[in-house]
Symmetry: C2
Subunit: 259 residues, 2 copies
């Protein structure tokens, strides 16, 4: 999977609550944006249940295929929090209890509240480098190219923001976007022609409503500003030729509220 | 992966816009709830880019491993809509143009608006059985155990709701939930003991805020009501013994707004 200048990542979301529909995942979107801003390409996401073999196999497959793997979920104190055992097994290493983390967790508790379940949150795969948890003490960690973060969004975000400067990014992705009140089917051929002339630019087309009218957002992504602006000019020309009035918009434009 | 009485599914989300962070996926959660209500276990989700080889490999891997595969995204008219070619390639079949769909799409357009790009939405892998799109005409389809749906949420939902009665469910999952204002680390050991006594029940523990106080939601899932109620009674007893006051709540209880 090695591509020159390209740094890739995979996010592995661990948790039955996402797969049962109880919980709407919000971590993928946060990590996607964060990785994008670092020049790292999020190439795949896997959402897997709290199942030992599945987690071990997924971690091993993904850490071989991508530069970075980020897992979320399964590092709390309860019986269904099995991520750390699974990461240790995936790497074929044992686990160790970190005395400083034991003391850190103890400092968040009242006297006598430390117990075996909480000790599990101070137990890591051998070779893990800890990632601070400024919200609730129990840390995440890095094991080689695998970053193990909490599942609770506010904790996950704090961990990621605290550790992301350790990730080596590649070429930053730049983006441009225009919106036009034309149907996707009317502009598809012209867009495809621009895409063919600019194979290094990724042109995406997304039906979207603006000012209560249906239209299309066209998003262009690439690493170099000049070719990106040339492709954007060609997209604009094509849309005008089709009778449209393209308007610039943010490439991060949110989806329609009614979606 | 065959398990007696258990019907499994995998959702494959296709689209660069999810992986770049531009779009927050909402289809997985809708499908997760819909499958759960049919007695089908959503066992994995893959989110992959608009990349031919990746889509083909993912479809082939997942259709062999799960009873059902549902894909979302990539069936529109533009150059980045490549799902149907990929599904055809995954199955090793050619593609055909469906004359009725051509007429259907034409009926949504003004005279002269039909074009080659729109014809792509009437072109399917051989053997596809079409799934109606009551929103914007261009259908999804089923090819053996793979269901190919649109990515736009309102269209995806209409397609799924229209076709889901064709899915054969297994044993329905029943769920119970209680919330308690105790920290997860305090109840972990007791919960683990209940889980050990009830291996057929899946007990999950989720930190959650209620009435502005932190606590834990404990969710129990299983196919049979009586063992589920016995396990729930044991969970309640354990929580009371720990000084908690467990209150029933919906197993679908939404997450905290501040998440």
């Amino acid at each position: 999977m090695a591509e020159p200048g390209i740094v890739t990542a995979c996010v592995v979301v661990i948790g039955n609550e996402i797969l049962s529909g109880r919980t709407q995942d919000k971590n993928v979107n946060y990590l996607a944006k964060g990785l994008e801003s670092l020049g790292i390409r999020l190439r795949e996401v896997r959402i897997v249940p709290d199942d030992r073999k599945k987690i071990v196999d997924t971690v091993n497959e993904c850490r071989a295929a991508f530069d970075y793997v980020i897992t979320t979920g399964g590092i709390g104190p309860t019986h269904d929090d099995i991520t750390s055992e699974c990461v240790a097994e995936a790497f074929g290493v044992g686990m160790y209890r970190d005395p400083e983390t034991v003391e850190l967790i103890r400092s968040y508790l009242r006297s006598g509240e430390m117990n075996e379940a909480r000790m599990r949150m101070a137990t890591f795969p051998e070779g893990a480098e800890l990632i601070a948890n400024p919200v609730s003490a129990a840390p995440g960690y890095r094991k080689e190219n695998v970053f193990v973060l909490a599942g609770v969004p506010q904790i996950m975000r704090a961990m990621f923001d605290g550790m992301k400067h350790h990730l080596s990014g590649g070429s930053r992705m730049r983006a441009r976007a225009v919106h036009v009140h034309l149907p996707e089917g009317a502009i598809a051929e012209a867009l495809g022609e621009v895409q063919e002339r600019h194979p290094d630019i990724d042109i995406g087309s997304y039906p979207a409503m603006r000012q209560r009218r249906f239209g299309v957002s066209v998003v262009l992504r690439g690493t170099d500003e000049a070719p990106l602006d040339r492709a954007l000019a060609e997209v604009r020309e094509s849309l005008v030729a089709l009778g449209g009035e393209p308007t610039d918009e943010s490439p991060d434009s949110p989806p329609d509220p009614e979606d």
